[in-house]
């Protein structure tokens, strides 16, 4: 089966989780992605915990999968001309340097566009290419802080709360992926016009925080962190874990209250309205939570599922990995070139005609240096050996 991007080559100069996730998606939908790793230390993700028994970074194993890897010393004077050999056959470049650094390396957008007509450059940084914060460092934590997300996550009597690991990077990576594909759609219908895309972690998170931000603009009050965990806010304790019963529609309420043996709450019409429930939480919440506490989470889920009521048992990875539903959908996937290797989380969306595919496990640092420069760069084996021996390309052993 064809893939939507299987005519494309991507050179990934990025050194961040956001860049890596963007190019992972480009690879998953068919592009030939070559990740360009610093010769000395490799991609920054490779140094991030946690590690497997072989000492490999698990975030790197996940986000660098499906790509090829070349190792090169970008500070070496010969690096620029070597990369140019690849850039002539590259459709998309993704990078995450501090703004200005790419141009210093001789790889700014104008230079790239000279190497290849229609070039699309996607820069992914904490704060973007323009504005007073452009050069200021940042990470996932600062994106949650500046976008409003941290201020609404967590509890009122505690500190604001970051998202779980890499969430800002994943969000920005997906947004950047979509922007690159949109730019390709434009390129291919507008006389091969390329362009520079500027994606900032902060911007993407502000965009996804929009409902709370706009609510604050309308009410004049910021959304506060919740006082406590209760059923309107998320998981509450049940017999063997935690369970969310965040009810929206009226029939969810009626059917759930009947199941929990709270017929008076089920049948009183006033409780059907969400805004009414919100204003009178204290009158029902303790009773509902007391009833829920006697249930096991999957038994409650199954009973509510039969009644078509939204229900959320808190599932851990061991439960998801063995979950019948995900198994039936074939969600978990080993890399095609490592069928005996670990199973990865699979397609984020199922496309019937141009599907997601995980072809390759994570490459070793510089694993494809010689083959890529030989096959795509047209550089001879002798020349490559010379470059390797003089420390321009290849890994540091």
């Amino acid at each position: 089966m064809t893939q939507a991007l299987d005519d494309l080559r991507v050179l990934d100069l990025s050194d961040s989780a956001a860049g890596a996730w963007c190019t992972r998606l480009l690879a998953d939908f068919g592009a030939d992605v070559i990740t360009v790793e610093p010769r000395a230390n490799g991609h920054a993700l490779r140094a991030l915990a946690p590690f497997d028994d072989a000492g490999r970074s698990i975030p790197a194993l996940y986000m660098l999968a499906n790509k090829r890897s070349i190792a090169i010393d970008l500070d070496e004077p010969r690096a620029g001309s070597l990369l140019s050999r690849l850039l002539r056959r590259t459709d998309v470049v993704v990078e995450s340097f501090t703004p200005g650094r790419l141009a210093e390396l001789g790889l700014g957008f104008d230079m790239l566009a000279q190497r290849r007509a229609g070039m699309i450059l996607c820069s992914i940084t904490p704060h973007g290419q323009t504005g007073k914060r452009a050069a200021v460092p940042g990470n996932d934590l600062t994106a949650f802080a500046r976008s409003g997300w941290a201020s609404i996550n967590g509890r009122a009597n505690r500190e604001p709360l970051n998202g779980s690991a890499f969430q800002a990077s994943y969000q920005a990576g997906i947004a950047a992926y979509g922007a690159v594909v949109a730019a390709l759609l434009h390129r291919d219908t507008h006389d091969n016009e390329g362009q520079h895309i500027d994606v900032a972690l902060d911007d993407v998170l502000a965009s996804t925080c929009a409902p709370a931000i706009v609510r604050a603009q309308y009410t004049g009050e910021p959304l506060a962190r919740r006082e406590k965990s209760d059923i309107t806010a998320g998981p509450v304790p049940v017999a063997d874990g935690h369970f969310a019963l965040t009810i929206s529609r009226a029939h969810f309420w009626r059917d759930a209250m009947n199941l929990l043996g709270l017929e008076d709450l089920a049948e009183d019409e006033r409780w059907a309205a969400g805004w009414f429930r919100q204003q009178h939480q204290d009158e029902y919440m303790p009773r509902v939570e007391e009833q829920m506490a006697g249930w096991k989470k999957m038994e409650l889920f199954d009973e509510l599922a039969v009644r078509r009521v939204v229900a959320g048992p808190v599932l851990e990875m061991s439960e998801l990995r063995t979950n019948d539903h995900l198994a039936a959908r074939g969600f978990w996937a080993a890399a095609e070139n490592a069928p005996d290797g670990p199973a990865y989380a699979g397609a984020p969306a199922r496309l019937s005609a141009s599907p997601w595919q995980l072809a390759r496990r994570m490459p070793r640092h510089g694993e494809h240096t010689f083959s890529v420069f030989r096959e795509i760069g047209g550089i001879t084996e002798d020349h490559l050996l010379g470059l390797f021996e003089s420390g321009v390309i290849g890994t540091v052993e």
Binding site: L141, S151, A165, A175, Y344
Partner: protein
């Protein structure tokens, strides 16, 4: 309509010329199609009068109290900030898909669609007689994106879900929370944000496949799977080590310090700063900025590994220092000096941030009922084909006649007749 700091007028984005006829509602689906609109696509939301988009509320939901002094704010369902936050750059027409005339109109509109998106429960489209195969019969190369809780097949296909329940069932909630606390949900339904971004990504992918091959397709987007994919590193950790990753609070898997610390209160509002050091250079700079050379000499903090081991003591020392500092002044000072630092902005403050304003990430939007408000606009920037806010979130039925006359050649008389029958029209039926 006018905006400050954003382009106005005809869309020039990379998706100009693409049209979406969408049945999306609430958050995830609406956000996905808003992103298409931000990038220049013409997005027409079809909405059923009998069952409002749930993010408009219901017909008896009260108007937000703070809007009661706004004379134009006359319909609460047009003034819901949730709906208005994720439906920019769309046109809105009402259509009762439960009537044969409504379904007929839908089929005639479908001919003009490149993309259809919906987030009904899995059986709804089939019950209406407009599932993917039926759509293909009308428009052979149509792209249909269905956003559901658990996807269109498998044992849970018909189990309903919303962000608040997908967060627990996708593995997200188990990873979110304080280090000493239970699993929690985010402050608003985070899985919708992820699924919305993913839906956008999936639809542009399908558009490119169609551009190359002429072939449309069906996109089955499970919110659970889209969210599990972005905690996939934690899933792989379990697969390789047998361990469920612990909740990290504000800490990092690798680096210390990495946290959110108290600053001087502003009036009654406690303020907070996010701080991190990801290298020894940044740590040394932080010690200097804090005027704490003793930290640099302290063996407990000698390198990242030591700081990680002694992170409780490290956090306590940092918090004691930041507690007497002004949040914004400290964040600016540290950022300029090359450190990782940011004020924790509340959701009101974000809209005033000068950097966001300068980049056009926060723009003013004039809404016919609510008036002029700041809100997040396009999150990505294109050098040749700028994405921009060109339309306010539509009021219900705002473009009924415009859409029906433009795409179907409907006359005002024909429209009035259909509105009288309740097939289209405006307001509570």
């Amino acid at each position: 309509m006018s905006t400050d700091g954003a382009a106005v007028g005809a869309p020039r984005g990379p998706l100009a010329g693409i049209r979406g006829i969408v049945l999306t509602q609430a958050w995830a689906g609406s956000y996905a199609t808003q992103l298409l609109g931000m990038l220049g696509a013409d997005i027409v939301q079809l909405e059923v009068r009998k069952r409002l988009d749930s993010w408009r509320g219901s017909y008896d939901t009260p108007l937000i109290a703070a809007l009661s002094s706004v004379p134009t704010a006359t319909h609460a369902w047009n003034c819901n900030p949730l709906y208005n936050s994720v439906n920019l750059n769309k046109r809105n027409a009402t259509l009762d898909l439960a009537t044969p005339a409504g379904v007929d109109l839908f089929r005639r509109l479908l001919v003009h669609a490149d993309v259809v998106a919906e987030n009904f429960s899995p059986r709804v489209l089939g019950n209406l007689g407009i599932d993917y195969e039926a759509m293909r019969a009308v428009k052979p190369d149509v792209i249909l994106c269905s956003l559901t809780a658990y996807g269109h097949d498998g044992p849970w296909a018909n189990v309903p879900g919303i962000g608040g329940t997908i967060e627990p069932t996708s593995g997200q909630s188990a990873l979110l929370g304080y280090r000493d606390g239970p699993p929690i949900n985010s402050g608003q339904m985070y899985p919708d944000a992820v699924a919305g971004l993913t839906g956008f990504a999936a639809m542009v992918t399908a558009l490119r496949h169609r551009q190359r091959t002429g072939e449309g397709q069906y996109i089955d987007l499970s919110m659970q799977e889209a969210n599990l994919a972005v905690v996939g590193d934690a899933a792989l950790e379990y697969e390789l080590t047998g361990r469920q990753r612990a909740r990290l609070g504000n800490r990092h898997l690798t680096f210390a310090p990495h946290g959110i610390y108290p600053c001087l209160a502003a009036g009654r509002d406690q303020r907070w700063i996010a701080l991190a050091a990801e290298s020894e250079t940044q740590w040394a700079a932080l010690c200097a900025a804090a005027a704490h050379p003793d930290w640099l000499a302290d063996p407990r903090f000698a390198d990242n590994a030591a700081r990680k081991t002694n992170e409780d003591a490290l956090d306590a020392a940092l918090a004691a220092w930041t507690a007497t500092e002004d949040r914004d002044a400290l964040a600016a000072r540290l950022g300029t000096a090359g450190m990782i630092a940011a004020p924790v902005l509340d959701t009101l403050e974000v809209a005033s941030d000068a950097h966001f304003r300068a980049r056009g990430v926060i723009v003013y939007v004039d809404h016919p009922e609510v008036g002029r408000r700041a809100q997040p606009g396009a999150p990505v920037h294109f050098s040749r084909t700028p994405a921009a806010v060109t339309r306010h979130a539509p009021v219900q039925g705002e473009h009924n006649l415009e859409v029906f006359s433009e795409l179907l050649g409907m006359t005002p008389g024909e429209y009035e007749a259909l509105a009288a029958e309740g097939v289209t029209g405006v307001g509570e039926p």
